[in-house]
């Protein structure tokens, strides 16, 4: 199905590359904190049709001769076997996947940093495993004095206590398998060491959302709040930016809260003020590449409604608190959208009503096809098969799965459980 493109990916690659290059040229070396998902950013692809999930990788490939990647993973996440929600894999597996994937794309991964290390055994085991990947592993501990005692943070007891990560390229991308992995602390610790070595290093952040140049209540920015409803992130006007430049820009609460401390840390390390607002630290140019704002708004609203349905399921499974769907519902109210705006829901419910069985509906382009649970098929399976028949103009009565094969599957699923362990 072709989705209308509302975002100019080629323009984005061109001007984003230029913007990062400008930032690199301000320093001897730039540490660029990469937020969000480095590979396969489905949220961005859904809210900005035309932004392909691999766009950030294509961007990094533009820098492959002058860039290296440091991956951060929190020792606590390893210890607790934290799982990345979208792929159902652990953070450490995601690190290994990232190393292999990036190397496959010709991007140099120089090291892995295990942050907040406090002797956890699983973290040590993971470091052993990384030897097979021929990547240098470093351990960083909790930064003494963080977050308020700047004198201690910027001293040999604070960032100075961490080992220096050997880097050789002009652009050092600091990324991670998920949030709360210690990317910022790693970048700042490196800055501290670089300055002690006489290198004029800089820091910048690459965040996709919120889009600073879109209005505060733009559906794309609200969709970011919906996506982070579990963290309770809120978008706010960057008052530092407004005061300094008279320009209204959007940032999220945690970056605004930490900015004064961050600014002070950067001043202590570098001896000068480079940034006057959290927005200044960013490099993203997404807002300039939107070609159809109306369509983007619609895509973002649709995403928020989907997030609401998913949050209700998570709540039922005990995977989130009641606040998560409540927050998303409030955001929907702000935008004047409701769960009934999702057309396929209406069709699925109508089918269920008519058939008195669990049902589903799919919308492909403008066509909507529904299906119900049968004796052999789940509602989703039946619906997809119906859709494929319609799209390929195959009469409804044709059996796509031969009865012989179906019988084999059926047998394997309904075989008496005596073949399984009885205890």
């Amino acid at each position: 199905m072709k989705t209308k493109k509302c975002f100019d990916a080629n323009k984005y690659l061109k001007i984003q590359k230029r913007k990062i290059k400008q930032r690199i040229n301000m320093f001897d070396k730039l540490y660029l904190e990469f937020g969000g998902k480095l590979i396969d950013d489905q949220h961005a692809a859904r809210t900005l049709p035309g932004f392909s999930p691999d766009l950030k990788i294509r961007l990094l490939q533009e820098f492959k001769d002058e860039a290296e990647v440091i991956l951060c993973i929190n020792a606590e996440a390893i210890e607790k076997s934290k799982i990345r929600a979208d792929h159902m894999i652990s953070y450490e597996t995601e690190v290994l996947r990232l190393i292999e994937f990036l190397r496959g794309k010709g991007i140099y991964v120089s090291s892995v940093v295990i942050t907040l290390y406090a002797g956890q055994k699983k973290a040590k085991d993971f470091a052993e495993k990384l030897k097979d990947y021929k990547v240098k592993t470093y351990f960083h501990t909790f930064t003494k004095g963080y977050p308020t005692d700047v004198d201690t943070i910027v001293s040999d007891e604070g960032y100075g206590a961490n080992p220096y990560i050997e880097t050789t390229k002009k652009l050092v991308v600091v990324s991670a398998p998920g949030p709360c992995s210690g990317k910022l602390a790693t970048a700042l610790s490196q800055l501290y060491h670089e300055y002690k070595r006489g290198v004029d290093a800089g820091y910048a952040k690459f965040e996709t959302f919120p889009v600073w140049s879109l209005p505060l209540k733009h559906p794309v920015n609200i969709a970011y709040e919906a996506a982070t409803a579990d963290l309770g992130d809120k978008n706010l006007i960057d008052h530092f930016h407004l005061e300094k430049y008279g320009i209204s820009a959007v940032n999220y609460n945690r970056d605004l809260e930490t900015f004064p401390v961050l600014k002070e840390i950067l001043r202590r390390i570098t001896g000068r003020d480079v940034y006057y607002s959290p927005t200044d630290m960013g490099v993203n140019v997404i807002g300039e590449c939107i070609t159809d704002d109306k369509a983007i708004q619609k895509a973002a609203k649709d995403e928020i409604v989907r997030r609401y349905y998913r949050a209700l399921v998570d709540l039922k499974k005990g995977a989130c608190t009641t606040e998560v769907p409540e927050r998303i519902k409030l955001l929907m109210n702000e935008l004047g959208v409701s769960e009934d705006d999702r057309t396929v829901v209406i069709h699925a419910e109508a089918k269920r009503e008519a058939a008195s069985r669990p049902a589903a509906a799919i919308q492909v382009g403008r066509k909507i096809v529904s299906g119900k649970e049968t004796d052999t098929l789940s509602p989703v399976s039946a619906t997809i098969l119906n859709a494929m028949k319609q799209m390929n103009k195959i009469p409804d009565e044709v059996d796509l799965i031969s009865p012989v094969i179906l019988e084999q599957f059926w047998k394997s699923k309904t075989r008496p459980v005596t073949s399984k362990k009885g205890t």
Binding site: H347, S378, V380
Partner: protein, 79 residues
């Protein structure tokens, strides 16, 4: 054991989407119509789907891999 028999058979009899795709792949070796369907599966990318009852995690993963934006209700399928 009786409970296990019952619970093990619980909801197991319906072919889930992953199994349907495997079955289609097997059938496609002898049936050109099914081959055509498999070739056109990528046309479902970007489609919207909603199910009235909770979709199993394994089916959600397959839907995501097909690029389908799926949601579902919170009722459990007790049939």
């Amino acid at each position: 054991m009786e409970i296990k028999n019952k619970t093990s058979n619980f909801k197991e009899r319906h072919l889930k989407l992953g199994e349907v795709l495997i079955a289609l792949s097997i059938c496609s070796t002898t049936n050109p119509i099914v081959q055509k369907i498999i070739n056109n599966l990528d046309k479902l990318a970007g489609a919207e789907l909603h199910a009235t009852h909770m979709i199993a995690d394994e089916e959600m993963v397959v839907l995501a891999n097909l690029g389908i934006n799926a949601t579902c209700g919170t009722e459990l399928n007790m049939d």
